[in-house]
């Protein structure tokens, strides 16, 4: 898997590069629009990490060019600018995902991996299971150790998100995007509230929570 990183801030770019290399991805880091064009013309890439604020142009312009010329691989957009407008414009122009700065490098790797997986594999599982928690996506029934558990539609969606990303730390931003389709921050502690409700229903004991809090990052399945 070969990934092109377009990021003008060298130190941020190196962080991304190192993290992706650790995951055994091959990377190439460029800092300018012109270099990015050349790089893509020279060799094919499986995915692109694209920063929008580049010294010689707008990353969104590059994205439009690539999509117009038939480049179909996933593109993950990074931006430090106006998050809301960039996200909407980026997704409209054919970006597959959007990550506002400052981001966690783990989050970036996780999102990129899920983009590549979505791109390559076929239909997904209809039953998700994790340590006795079972979620049937077709009949929409949740159970714990064989006993059915009543869930509201939000709780069901949140549990499904956790079970689909069993090892990943889910940030609040990611959860808000996926469950509430929110381009804006939810402002309240709504996500914490729903995680608490899931814990109440699925925790076997107080000492071993079913969903654990990763301070400064988000939540993760235990």
């Amino acid at each position: 898997m070969k990934i092109l990183i377009v990021e003008d801030e060298t130190r941020v770019g190196r962080f991304i590069e190192r993290a992706l290399n650790e995951q055994a991805y091959t990377t190439r880091l460029v800092h300018r629009c012109a270099d990015a064009r050349d790089a893509l013309a020279e060799s094919p890439y499986d995915a692109i990490v694209l920063d929008l604020g580049l010294p010689d142009g707008d990353g969104l312009e590059l994205l439009r060019e690539w999509r117009a010329s038939g480049f179909n691989e996933p593109v993950l957009v990074l931006s430090a600018r106006d998050a809301v407008n960039d996200r909407i414009r980026g997704l409209n122009l054919g970006a597959d995902d959007y990550l506002p700065k400052p981001f966690s490098v783990d989050e970036l790797v996780a999102r990129l991996r899920s983009l590549l997986r979505r791109h390559s594999t076929g239909p997904r599982a209809t039953v998700l299971e994790h340590h006795g928690v079972r979620l049937d996506l077709l009949s929409r029934i949740a159970s714990l150790d064989g006993r059915p558990v009543e869930l509201t539609s939000r709780e069901f969606a949140l549990l499904e998100l956790f079970l689909q990303n069993p090892r990943r730390v889910l940030t609040r931003t990611f959860i808000a995007e996926k469950i509430w389709e929110a381009s804006y921050d939810l402002e309240t502690n709504l996500i914490d509230v729903y995680v608490r409700r899931l814990r109440q229903k699925f925790d076997r004991s107080k000492t071993e929570p079913f969903i654990k809090t990763v301070r400064g990052a988000g939540y993760q399945l235990a």
């Binding site: 966690s104 783990d106 921050d185 400064g216």
Partner: protein
Amino acid sequence: MKSFTVRLTLQFAALVTATTAAVLVAGGFLLDHENERGLELLHAIEARELGELIGRDSALTATDIADRIKHDADSDAALFVIQVATARGDVVFRSDNLGDTILPDLPDDEPHWTTSVPLLGRVHLTEATHGPWRIHIGSPLEPSERLLRDYIRISVPLVFGAALLSVALGYAFSRATLRPVRAIESIAQRIRADQLSDRIPVPAGHDELASLTTLLNQMFDRLQSSFEQVRRFTADASHELKTPLALIRLNAEKLRSRAQQDPECAATVTDILEEIARLQHMIDRLLFLAQTESGAFAPALRPLAIQTLITDFAADATALAEDRNTRFAVGRNEPGELRGEPDLLRQLLLNLVGNAVAASPPGTLITLDSFPAVDDHWHFVITDEGPGLSPAQLERVFDRFARFESPDAASSKPRGHGLGLAICRSIAELHHGSIRLENRPDRSGLRVTVELPR
């Protein structure tokens, strides 16, 4: 119709009507005056004729005089009444059309006089002396009065006609006069944050409108440049603030992964990461406020089914309330449509319910009502049973970083960034609406009303 057009029309109409009326009144006076002058000329000619017929012989008897002028007096009976008297005042001849009436003597020095005479009505008299005779010639004023009445009968409708016509003309005139102003108005309305480059075409010439237009355009230039400064500033500020923040975060994460063996070090790094998240959140909020308040951010509004929006929202609000052992209920949930951005509206309502939950003692009720008001606005009303706010707090509730002690301040750690209500107000204003906070009149508690145009 704008009031200025109305005012201009009415002023124009009043002016035209008053002028018409004044001209007609003056005409009436002139007509009356000229009529009398004409009669006086005729009287002078008739008096000379009669004088020549009578002669200067003072010995003539009444019969002689009658012989000499009777024929003449009869033939002019339709025009004149005639009376001849001696210098002493003895009447020696009276024309038949006088009947029993004797014409009075005129005051001294007055050759002409108007007086009422029995049977004849008002009569205009002329007195002429011919030798020993004093000749009175009079003409009934009835025909000229009839003429004047006719004149007035025509004039009154003329004035009304002029009034009506001048209203119509005045309206057309003021519309035409104000056309350039309306052009300026319509373009100025179009010039908003998302279309600041438009300018009003400057009319040809060097008149007042041209200079006004130039002035307005200069103002738009300044406005555009300051808008662009805000845009550039927010873009620059977010880039300049977030890039170092990104590096700090990346470095902190690297540190944390290496500090697993040292719990104290790991905890410190975790604290740093949490503070970075808070800072990031705060920067986002401040940029959002800066952009909405400057008009640099205008979300696309689209028609929304309100009832569905509220039903969806109720599930989240109930979860928020139950988490703090309070209750949430939807009161009125009327069907209807509203132009809005669903994400932002949900954020607005979540924020308000979140505040209400935070202020509510356990077991109390938070209510949301959603209904169309009589004034063409849609109202979302959130009421709680908390302590409400003091007048001083109500006054600065929308200030940035304003945070209020909740009644159980000791038990709850400070949450949030004090920007919540400022953001709520920004969102309401992005929807061209407003937000209002007041204490409940029926009991303790706060009532928040969001009014959005439908």
